[in-house]
């Protein structure tokens, strides 16, 4: 009964999406205000219906309804309740439903928070979002229906993939999808602007908070995914340049470029066409990512089970959405005005360099990800492109980008003088160079790469802190967007220091340990003290007790496990991690080894600066939140300022 209700809700949602997509847009063409005003209510209605469908699917999971195919494939009566709920998005169909839910919620948010926008604009934006919803909802209803019945119902479900039975799954996909889908709002604003022919600073101001919020979610989602891979997969890696990871990185890079480009468009009215193109690009990359992950075109650890018919549908959808957007762009962009003048050295050009470098980096990642496919399609053979390529190509592009982050924030708009910049930044530069060159010696062997990485990290970090101090000295209220920008930049600096640190100084020991054996990675000692069998809710495990000592003093007890879930034959490693501010100690239990005395294969890692990776990401997320909360995006601000001005006038 409930699955049918959910299915019906989805069908209704599709019909409402048709109304939302078609009528308001037609209304703007025929200047019919009544049809334009259909936008908000239909968006809200669609959100309610999709939420209902989602609730029905969740209820099927929580009640162990194995007469639903999707539930039987991804759940199990022994699965703990929180994971039963998270299993809703553990497979292709359910994750698509999550996507559509996010899309509907974002559309509803636009409907609610757009009171200050002209009706025609709201109609266009929600209309475009409606059209996108039509695509996804029809995709779900035709090829990926999560409510399909299994008759007779299964006695027991197949269980959620053990890799996914983890808190990370509960939160990583929703955050990521909030980001992907959030970029559709900026996309819709861009299309609306192209359709109306009005591409002005106001458009940029409206788009910016939505973009920043989407970017923040995307940053958080990618960071979570990285963190999850780090502790879940057992060998302490956190980025593999896997196609699906790249599919999330590419929209992030373009969204970052977009935020910076929007700044220029808002302030100086320049780069309008470029900003619109970036907005289209960011969402297109989101859609491309969806295609890559679900079509079976590329092999990846993360890929969903693929089905050629699904691939064809998504590709057609991608072609229609992006193709028509780019056609509209080619038609309307030439008429766009150029905006204010700018000198060869100015904040605008720094921001333009930011765009160039980020877009080239995106191009490089896209090239590497797609190249095997291109070569295969041309019948020229099969090759692989992996981490060695990406690391070699991506890092050099980041060097100039990190460098210009500081002069870019110091430089004046329109015209900046090189001599001024040098004078302002010389102390920061010298200090950064000093820190970067000397610090590596404190941790181990010195190398150019380490010094370069830490110099850049110090440059951005110190440069940011210096600017904050300078600003605090001046009077006046500091807007939230100031904090947002500098927090995000500081986060980037921390991330760079972390990446450089862990890559330069991590130590791994692959050993065989019997009871009483120990491994030393100065100043830490790891001693295997006990090994026992334990039972979990849906698994059985072997658990090791490893005592960690620091300079001989007991520090911590780590308990890595090797689990055997009842549902699959695949054994799972649960690594044990001790996190500090400056380092992680990571122990991973392997197989029982043969020999006279009982020994186990163990991997022990000393990973310095890893917590800085997560710290950097969190700082960026806080920065995004701060930037989005800036008062100028809130309607009440205008009223406040008027009240302040009149009070001042009366007093003065």
């Amino acid at each position: 009964m409930i699955p049918e209700l959910g299915h019906f809700a989805l069908i209704l949602a599709l019909l409402v999406a048709v109304v939302q997509g078609v009528f308001p847009l037609w209304g703007t063409l025929s200047r019919n205000a009544a049809w334009q005003s259909l936008a908000r209510p239909s968006a809200l209605m669609q959100a309610a219906l999709v939420a209902l469908a989602f609730a029905c699917l969740s209820s099927s999971f929580l009640s162990n309804d194995f007469s639903v195919v999707y539930v039987a494939q991804h759940s199990n009566t022994l699965l703990p309740k929180p994971y039963q709920l998270a299993a809703v998005w553990g497979g292709h169909e359910g994750s698509l439903l999550l996507w559509v839910l996010m899309l509907a919620l974002w559309s509803a948010a636009v409907a609610v928070f757009s009171a200050s926008l002209p009706l025609a604009m709201v109609a266009r934006v929600l209309g475009v979002l409606g059209l996108v919803s039509i695509g996804f909802l029809s995709f779900i209803l035709t090829t990926s229906n999560p409510f399909e019945r299994l008759l007779p119902p299964a006695q027991e479900g197949r269980d959620l993939n053990p890799l996914l039975q983890d808190p990370g799954l509960v939160i990583h996909p929703p955050m990521l999808y909030m980001g992907y889908v959030g970029l559709s709002v900026t996309f819709a604003f861009a299309i609306a602007a192209l359709l109306s022919g009005r591409l002005d600073a106001a458009w940029a101001r409206w788009s910016r908070p939505w973009t920043v919020i989407a970017w923040t979610f995307l940053t958080f989602g990618i960071g979570l995914g990285s963190w999850w891979a780090y502790y879940e997969l057992g060998w302490g890696g956190w980025w593999f340049w896997d196609p699906v990871e790249n599919a999330s990185l590419m929209p992030w890079l373009v969204a970052t470029a977009l935020i910076h480009s929007l700044m220029v468009t808002e302030k100086r009215g320049s780069f309008k066409a470029w900003t619109v193109l970036l907005a289209i690009g960011a969402f297109s990359l989101s859609l491309l990512g969806t295609f890559l992950v679900r079509s079976g075109v590329l092999t990846s650890v993360h890929a969903f089970a693929s089905d050629p018919s699904r691939g064809v549908f998504i590709l057609l959808f991608l072609a229609v959405v992006v193709g028509s957007s780019l056609t509209l762009f080619a038609w309307r962009a030439p008429q766009v005005t150029l905006g204010g003048s700018m000198g060869l050295l100015s904040r605008e050009t720094f921001l333009l360099m930011n765009s160039v470098l980020l877009v080239v980096a995106t191009g490089a990642v896209l090239l590497g990800t797609i190249y095997p496919l291109v070569i295969d399609a041309l019948n020229l053979g099969k090759l692989s492109v992996g981490p060695p390529y990406f690391n070699l190509v991506f890092a050099p592009l980041m060097v100039p980008l990190l460098f210009i982050m500081i002069p870019g924030t110091v430089a004046r708009w329109r015209e900046a003088k090189l001599s001024e910049l040098v004078v302002e930044l010389r102390w920061v530069g010298c200090l950064a160079l000093l820190v970067g060159s000397i610090a590596p010696l404190a941790f181990g062997t010195w190398s150019v790469g380490t010094a370069l990485g830490w110099t850049l990290g110090a440059w951005v970090g110190l440069g940011t802190l210096w600017q904050v101090v300078q600003r605090l000295r001046k009077p006046g209220r500091i807007p939230a967007s100031f904090w947002g920008m500098h927090l995000a930049h500081l986060g980037m600096a921390v991330l760079v220091v972390g990446v450089t640190g862990v890559k330069s100084f991590e130590v791994e020991r692959d050993v065989r340990m019997g009871l009483g054996d120990e491994v030393t990675i100065a100043p830490y000692t790891f001693r295997l003290v006990d090994m026992k069998n334990v039972q979990g809710p849906n698994y059985r495990a072997v658990r090791a007790e490893v005592h960690v000592l620091r300079n001989g003093q007991p520090l911590e007890v780590l308990s890595p496990e090797k689990r055997n879930y009842f549902s699959t034959a695949m054994p799972m490693t649960e690594a044990a991690i001790d996190s500090g501010f400056m380092r992680d100690l990571y122990v991973s239990l392997g197989d029982r080894l043969e020999g006279e005395r009982p020994e186990w294969s163990m991997r022990v890692y000393y990973k310095p600066f890893v917590p800085w990776l997560w710290g950097g990401v969190l700082l960026m997320v806080f920065g995004g939140v701060a930037a989005a909360l800036d008062r100028r995006y809130r309607k009440t601000q205008v009223a406040d300022e008027l009240a302040e001005a009149s009070a001042a006038a009366r007093a003065g």
Binding site: G311, L315, A330, P334, L338
Partner: protein
């Protein structure tokens, strides 16, 4: 007057400029074309670099016992090499096809028993090489007796070394080798009747003519 001139200059658009706005669309359509073709490909299928190269030499004990076998001894004949194992589920699917094909006596089929002894067989301690070989022989003989034996003879590749030389990465795999001992065709996966009639048999006939 000044303002008007400025306005008009800003809005002037060159025709050549307009074309550059079509570049993103052109690039995108190119991408879609590649993706469309890619949908029809299997990204996990690895073409063999050994096609048109001499079949790697080896000398392995046979299932039946006696002299070890080397591909050299089949020089001058067109023959098939089929990689199989008793633990391989897919092999059971293709086996009847091979048995039926063997009855046609078109070409000799040599079986390569690949890693018959698996880690779980040695869970209680490593087996001595002779014991390992004997266990593999016994198991394979029983299996072939039950499912039919299409092989002129079967060689035992216990540690998978020869498999690596032949670029084996999954079982079953099948090779067609010509009179000069050059590999002419490789099939990764199950041999189906359709594949036999459409690809393999015509190839064999062509090779026999030369």
């Amino acid at each position: 007057m000044n303002w008007l001139k400025l306005q008009r200059r800003r809005e002037r658009v060159d025709v050549s400029d307009m074309k550059k706005f079509l570049i993103p669309l052109a690039l995108f359509l190119g991408l879609v074309a590649f993706l469309a073709v890619g949908l029809k490909r299997d990204p996990r299928e690895i073409p063999s670099p050994l096609i048109n190269k001499p079949a790697p030499a080896f000398s392995l004990p046979t299932l039946e016992g006696g002299e070890p076998f080397s591909p050299q001894s089949l020089q001058g004949k067109v023959w098939m090499l089929n990689v199989w194992a008793t633990w391989c589920v897919a092999c059971r699917e293709e086996h009847p096809v091979l048995v039926a094909f063997a009855r046609q006596n078109a070409v000799p089929i040599v079986g390569l028993s690949y890693k018959e002894i698996q880690p779980q067989d040695e869970a209680n301690g490593k087996l001595a090489p002779e014991a390992k070989l004997q266990m593999a022989r016994d198991r394979s003989k029983v299996w072939l007796a039950r499912h039919g034996n299409p092989y002129a003879l079967s060689v035992m590749d216990l540690d998978g070394r020869v498999g690596i030389d032949y670029g084996v990465y999954g079982v079953p795999e099948t090779y067609v080798i010509d009179r000069q001992g050059v590999i002419r065709y490789k099939r990764v996966g199950v041999v189906t009747p359709a594949l036999l009639s459409e690809k393999i048999l015509p190839l064999i006939r062509e090779l026999e003519r030369s």
